[in-house]
């Protein structure tokens, strides 16, 4: 175990990353990949992972790179951040799910596991890991799990889930789940955004049920537009434009306001034209229709979401006669405990204002 801090609770960091490079993995690659790789690239190993334009001016040269590449690096960081146990994840290998050569992907997963097991993980020090698998070859992945399931240092199965196509509900992945369940190991899914970017639209085509599409895509699509409009400066260039987003539910709105603000503080130079924080633009220029108001039966949830989104931005909608329409009376009942002025705004006044309609007599 790491240094236990006797004053506080046990701290288990469930997502702690290594900065593995090909120079760490190649020595553990099986042949023919090791020979091919070394012959082609010599010591100048080319990164085989797909990327989608990782040019981030806000990051480049701004932060000091923190490299975690040895067991000692892990222990040092655990001590620095008061971590008693850590679940170690790779960084580059998070792109594994999108490597276009399936056999090479499985060889890389295997090499990563060998390297991590030999050089990084140490159950006695609280340094645990996931058995990394390449979802491209589920049967081989299952064999990898069965081979390593008894090693103390592996406590889960890691699926690099970004860009994995078809999505992970597909039957083709059953061998991985069977092997994990049989081994009593949880599966841990971690995305890499640059791989999601290469596969996201196509991924949608593999959704096999309407529920999957409907539950995820309405809010995801609005999140994408909202983030893109703000980062591209639409509200800066069109400060009098009002933008209404419909039919995506409500819980994602306070989430995105905070997520965008949080990220903007790190990535300000990706959108230096902003004169206000993203959440302020959202409050000032964006409006959201309330339907389908998820968990409308939960009084506390409804009140909390309204408080976080703000009654100036939220506008009641039924979506009638679509199958997921909201009943006016039901929603209004849930808003009963709000101050009257707020309830009136959500019910209709904000909409009258947004659409510039004089209230009828």
């Amino acid at each position: 175990m790491g240094e236990v801090d006797n004053d506080g609770p046990i701290v288990f960091d469930t997502d702690f990353h290594l900065n593995e490079g090909m120079e760490h993995l190649v020595p553990y690659l099986v042949d023919p990949y090791k020979t091919l790789y070394e012959r082609d690239y010599g010591e100048e190993y080319r990164d085989p992972f797909p990327q989608a334009g990782w040019f981030a001016p806000d990051r480049m040269g701004k932060q000091s790179p923190r490299q975690v590449q040895t067991r000692e690096d892990v222990s040092d960081a655990m001590a620095e951040f008061d971590i008693d146990y850590a679940l170690i994840q790779p960084s580059n290998c998070m792109h594994l799910g999108s490597v276009h050569h399936d056999e090479f992907a499985t060889a890389l997963a295997n090499a990563y596991n060998e390297w991590a097991s030999n050089e990084i993980l140490d159950s006695e020090k609280g340094i645990y890991g996931s058995i990394l698998v390449a979802p491209q070859r589920p049967e081989t992945a299952a064999a990898e799990i069965r081979d390593r399931k008894d090693a103390d240092e592996f406590v889960s199965v890691g699926i690099p889930s970004g860009g994995v196509h078809p999505p992970l509900g597909n039957r083709r992945y059953h061998p991985i789940y069977e092997a994990a369940e049989e081994a009593g190991l949880p599966i841990v899914m971690h995305n890499a955004v640059t791989t999601i970017m290469t596969a996201f639209p196509q991924l949608f085509q593999e959704f096999s049920r309407n529920l999957t599409c409907h539950a995820t895509l309405h809010p995801m699509q609005q999140m994408v537009h909202l983030a893109d409009m703000i980062v591209q400066g639409i509200p800066v260039e069109f400060p009098n434009l009002k933008i209404v987003m419909q039919e995506a539910g409500v819980g994602w709105i306070p989430f995105m306001m905070r997520r965008l603000d949080n990220e903007y503080l790190n990535h300000r130079s990706d959108a230096p034209m902003l004169e206000k924080m993203p959440s302020e633009y959202i409050e000032d220029q964006f409006y959201f229709s309330s339907q389908p108001f998820e968990a409308v039966q939960e009084q506390k949830y409804v009140e909390y979401v309204v408080e976080l989104v703000g009654s100036d931005s939220l506008m009641f909608a039924t979506d009638y006669p679509h199958f997921d329409f909201d009943n006016t009376e039901d929603v209004m009942n849930r808003l009963q405990r709000l101050p009257e002025a707020e309830r009136e705004k959500i019910a209709g006044k904000t909409a009258l204002d947004v659409f510039d309609i004089d209230q009828h007599d």
Binding site: K62, Q63, D261, S269, M277
Partner: protein, 136 residues
């Protein structure tokens, strides 16, 4: 970390509550150098820029990252061209970025470069007879 010593010399407005502390000799720091000093239990990060010295709190407002280990830079800006926002680096406002997640603060004012309420306390630096002092 260096312990800054209280300067014996009386300085400035004696009615003010501030105290002047000696930090180091000017010659001991080159442009881009930084120094972590402890003044009355407060950690200050001292930087030498191209023109002057800066003193800011060492404790990043985000999650407490060590500012003294941050990189000095100038913030990126964007200007509107016909059909795009072009990135530029014309600004000569010296900043320091926290080494943990990159929150970037102006060294002079301590203000975060994003339009936010977050800022870091800054302190006046004084150079006299080749010696650097900070007023806290």
């Amino acid at each position: 970390m260096t312990d800054a010593s209280t300067d014996d010399t009386e300085r400035g407005d004696s009615s003010s509550e501030s105290t002047v502390y000696h930090v180091t000799s000017v010659d001991d720091m080159e442009e881009g150098d930084r120094l972590l000093v402890d003044i009355d239990g407060q950690s200050l990060a001292i930087f030498r820029g191209s023109e002057e010295f800066y003193a800011i709190s060492n404790y990043c407002q985000h999650q407490g990252g060590p500012m003294c280990k941050g990189r000095m830079l100038n913030p990126l800006d964007s200007t509107k061209s016909k059909d795009a926002w072009e990135l530029s680096q014309d600004s000569d406002v010296p900043t320091v970025a926290c080494p943990w997640h990159g929150w970037e603060y102006e060294l002079e004012t301590g203000e975060h470069v994003a339009p936010t309420k977050y800022n870091l306390p800054t302190y006046d630096t004084i150079v006299e007879d080749g010696e650097l002092y900070v007023e806290v």
